[in-house]
Amino acid sequence: MEPWWITVIKAFVVVNLILILFSYTMLSERKLMGRMQLRYGPNRAGPFGVLQPFADLLKLIRKESFFASGGIDVLYIASPLLATFTALAAFSVIPFGPGWEVGGYTITGQVVDVPIALLLVFALGSVGIYGFIVGGWASESKYSLLGAMRTCAQLVSYEVSLALSVLGVVILGQSLSLTEIVARQGETIWFAVPQFVGFVIFLIAGTAETSRAPFDLPEAEQELVAGYHTEYGGMRYGLFALAEYINLITLTALAVTLFLGAWHGPWLPGPIWFLLKMVVLLFVFIWMRTTLPRLRYDQLMRFGWKVLLPIATINAMATAILVVVL
């Protein structure tokens, strides 16, 4: 066991790295989407717009922090915090490196090694939904409430497929601990190969789970008002946006951990490999956002329950049977 203060330092470093990754994911998304639509994207703040995230942050922080007059203040303030906290906390169990020996101390490759890490990530993701529904409820606006219900219906539906899609990985890895799943992938092959169907389902359900295009019904900026965060402004809105993006980053990190061998890779050190794989996946998510048109609400529900869920179930059952037979 490592001393507690190493964990604290690691948590601090990891949280800040995620926040930096978040700001530049957002910037590169805007720039990439711009290029894909024959625009430049942000290019005014600093060279090539690299200071844009900080300009946005300054702008959001300096805005007036208002309340909805009929709203419930405590919940109104707490829900973006809850959403951000769960989004950031979920990253703590994800192994980003093999672990190192520094000055006689063993430093593990994740903030905390929990034997039920996978369950913890899903549990935190589910708690994060409270942030959205409570935020919509506390704003005392029918549009926010409807938006929150829309969000929650989508997140709850797709969470089932998401959880079922990783069942195959759990069966192959024979553990719920992410470190053991990663170690097992190091011994054999990346689980994306035997669990290709599971990987694809994980990516699709994950897109819906982080409410990204083509499943961005919760926000749907072109046709609906923003959804659960309609009544939010300034940095409180910023925290919701941050939670959404960090959920996406955690999801890609989870996909890399479960299916793409986490930090395993030749020549380069572990964390670099981890980051590279994450960047590739994030690019796929951004690419998907520009390419695919948004689903209608009934299509979303039909796809989730009638297509994704049966395939995920069959995939998990087939994996279980094959593992027992072989």
Partner: protein
Amino acid sequence: MAKPADPGNPAVGLVRAFGVTFKQIFKKPITQQYPEYKRPLYPRFRGRHRLWRHENGLEKCVGCSLCAAACPADCIRVVPAENTPDNRVSAGERYARIYEINMSRCIFCGYCELACPFDAITLGNEFEISEYHRNDLIYTKDMLLAEPIKQVPVADPELYDTPIPYYKTHS
């Protein structure tokens, strides 16, 4: 009736769509970077107003207030005064002692230049007229008579097939 084009296999379409967006990354963006690059204006563009003088230096405006009457935004204020032999300002009987246009109300419809019987007022090409205070947006007669400080590039009229109105070329 022509049959609609065959949509083809949706799965193939999906994959091809990803190819289309990926190819776009390497194309040059078509955005015009505005403050650095100013697109030449359409010749009939209606920008900020201009009052004109005759060649002999007298003002064309005779203070008839027809522009103010035509103005749908009610942004023009004209106060006329009589010309006297020792103080001759305009070619007519009277002249505009005060001529003000409130640019924050003006909708740049161009009715004032249509209403003007002497082609004294026209709408120019200048459009970058933002100010930090509303009072600065009230243009007085001196400002309207002066040459615009900013010169805006104007596209070659030959490029467009619409005729240039008479008052744009002969006033």
